[in-house]
Amino acid sequence: MTTTTKPVTPVAAAPGARRLGAGTLALRQGRLEITQFLRSRESVVFTMLFPVVMIAIFASIFTWEITPGVRFTQYFVTGMIATGLMTVSFQNLGIWIPIERDRGVLKRYRGTPMPKWVYFAGKVLMVVAIGVAETVLLLAVSAVFFDLHLPSTAGRWLTFGWVAALGVTACTLCGIAISSLARTARSGSAVVTPVALILQFISGVFFVFTGLPGWMQQVAALFPLKWMCQGLRAVFLPDSFGAQEPAGSFELGRVALVLALWCVIGLVLCLTTFRWTTKRDG
C-alpha cells in the first residue's frame, strides 16, 4: 500500500432515482411517528385512556344535574377533551423531543438529506391522529356510558373543529418550544408535567372555572388551556350557560384570537430556540 490514490469509480445514481415529494416525505414521517407511538404501550395507555378514566371517575362522583336536563358530565367532558388534546400535543412533545435529542435521533436525521421541517410534520401528523382517536374514544365512552349529549347542530361541530384545531396547533408549537428547555432526556417530564398540571387546575378542568378565585382566573386567561375549555363549553353546554362565563358570554371571537396568538408565539419560539443537539454535542 504505497499509493495514496486509487482509480476513482464514480458512484452513479440508480436509474430512475428521484427525491421523494414533500407530501410523501411528511406522510412517511407521520406514519413512522404513529407506529413508534402505538408500539410503546405506556404512552398509548396513558394518553388514550387517561381522559376516559378521568371522565369515568368524575361522572361517577358528580351524578347530579347542573340544571334540569344538563348533567355534570356535560361540563367536565369539555375539560377532559381539552386536557386530552394538551396531553397528546404539549406534554407528549415536550417530553419526547428531549429524549430523542438526547438519544441522537435528531442528530441522525440532520445527517441525512431530510429537510428539517419533515421532522416537525411527522410530529404534527402523529399529534393529530392520536388526538382525533383519543377524543373520539372519550366522546364515545361518555355518550354510551355517562349519558353525554353530543353537539346537536352543524354550527356546534364547526366550533368544536376550529377550537380543537387551533388549540392543538398552539399546544403542539408550545410543546416543541418547551422541549428546548430540557437539558437532558430525563428533565423533559420534570419541565412539562408541572406546567401542564398547574394549567389544568387553574383553567377549570377539575373545578368549575367561575368558582375559582378571580386572580387565578386572570392568570389562567394568559394561557391557551382556559380558552380551549371555554370554546368547548360553547359546544357542549346550552347557549344560556354563556351568561355564567366570566365575561357573560362564551367569547368565541376572543377564544380564536388568544389561541391564534399562542400559535404565533409558539411558532416564533420554535424558530428561534429549537435545538437539534444537546449541550455536549455543541
Partner: protein, 281 residues
C-alpha cells in the same frame, strides 16, 4: 469538473471557551481513499470530523468536503455524504427493515434496503425490533443507515469499539468492500491494527494538530528507522543492537555462529511504538 480531493482542510481551528480543541489542522483526503484519523481521546479527532460532517461550526480555516463548505450543508450535499453514528437505540420500537427503509426514502439514489441489510449481515434480524439487537448488531444497523444513500464519502467514528475480534474482521471486510466500490472513507479509531489493516493513509492528531500523515508502514519513518536485532552470545547473555542494515548483521552473525543464531529476533518498530512516540509518550 469534479475536484479530485474529497476533503481539503486548511488552518482549521475550533475552541470551546478557553479549551482549544483543534489548533490549526491541515488535511487532504483523496477520492477513493481510505483515510484513518488516529489520536488519543481529547486530541481533536471527533471535533474535526464533526466539522467535516457539517454538525459543528468552525472558528477559522478553509474546509471543502466534496467541493462544498460543510458549514452550510444542503440536502444535495447531504445525500452524497454518509455518516455512521454510534447509535444508542433511538428506534427501539421499530424493526431493522422499517428503519432502513425509512432512511432509504430520504435519499434520491438510495440502495435497495433489503440488499443493504443483507450486506451488513443483519439479514436474519431484518424483522427484529432494534432493541433486541446486540451491541455489534446495532453498529451494523448504524452502518446500514450510513451507506443506504450510496454515499461518495463515508465517515465512520470509532466504528468497531466494543466488537469482538471476529466481528471486527467481518466489519473490516465490509469496509474494504465499500472502498473497492470507490467510496471514499474517513474513519477515526483508537485501534492501531485497524488503521493498519484498512487505511491507505493515516493522519495522527495530537493536541489539536496533525502531527503526521503517511501510509501506515511509513508512519514516523518506520521503514527507515533502525531495526533491533538481538541474539544470545555463546556465554548465554542477551546482546541487542539497533542497526540500519539488519540483513548484513544477520548474515555476519550466521557466519560467526556457523549456522543458526541462538535466540535471534529482528524487530522493526511497530505502529504502536511509532504512534506512542508521536503523541508524546
Amino acid at each position: 469538473m469534479e475536484d479530485e480531493l474529497a476533503i481539503s482542510v486548511r488552518g482549521l481551528r475550533k475552541a470551546y471557551g478557553d479549551n482549544v480543541a483543534v489548533a490549526g489542522v491541515d488535511l487532504d483526503v483523496h477520492r477513493g481513499e481510505v483515510f484513518a484519523l488516529l489520536g488519543p481521546n481529547g486530541a481533536g479527532k471527533t471535533t474535526t470530523v464533526e466539522i467535516l460532517e457539517g454538525y459543528r461550526q468552525r472558528d477559522a480555516g478553509e474546509v471543502r468536503v466534496l467541493g462544498v463548505d460543510p458549514a452550510h450543508p444542503d440536502p444535495a450535499w447531504r445525500s452524497r455524504v454518509g455518516i455512521v453514528l454510534q447509535g444508542i437505540g433511538e428506534f427501539d420500537e421499530l424493526t431493522v427493515a422499517e428503519v432502513v427503509r425509512h432512511f432509504a426514502g430520504f435519499y434520491p439514489g438510495a440502495d435497495d434496503p433489503d440488499k443493504v441489510i443483507e450486506r451488513v449481515g443483519l439479514g436474519a434480524k431484518a424483522k427484529a425490533r432494534t432493541h433486541t439487537l446486540s451491541g455489534g448488531q446495532k453498529r451494523r444497523l448504524d452502518v446500514a443507515l450510513g451507506i443506504i444513500g450510496r454515499p461518495e464519502l463515508l465517515f465512520l467514528d470509532e466504528p468497531t469499539t466494543g466488537f469482538d475480534p471476529e466481528a471486527r474482521r467481518e466489519f473490516w471486510e465490509l469496509i474494504r468492500d465499500l472502498a473497492a466500490a470507490g467510496t471514499t472513507i474517513v474513519l477515526t479509531t483508537h485501534y492501531l491494527d485497524e488503521a493498519e489493516a484498512l487505511a491507505d493513509r493515516v493522519g495522527v492528531i495530537a493536541a489539536g494538530r496533525v502531527v503526521e500523515v503517511a501510509p501506515p508502514n511509513r508512519l514516523g519513518n518506520r521503514q527507515e528507522a533502525l531495526t533491533t536485532v538481538s541474539w544470545r552470545t555463546p556465554e548465554g547473555t542477551l546482546e541487542t543492537t539497533a542497526t540500519a542494515t539488519p540483513t548484513a548483521l544477520v548474515a555476519e552473525l550466521a557466519a560467526r555462529f556457523g549456522g543458526e543464531v541462538p535466540g535471534l529476533t529482528v524487530t522493526r518498530p511497530t505502529l504502536e511504538d511509532v504512534y506512542l512516540r508521536m503523541i508524546g509518550h
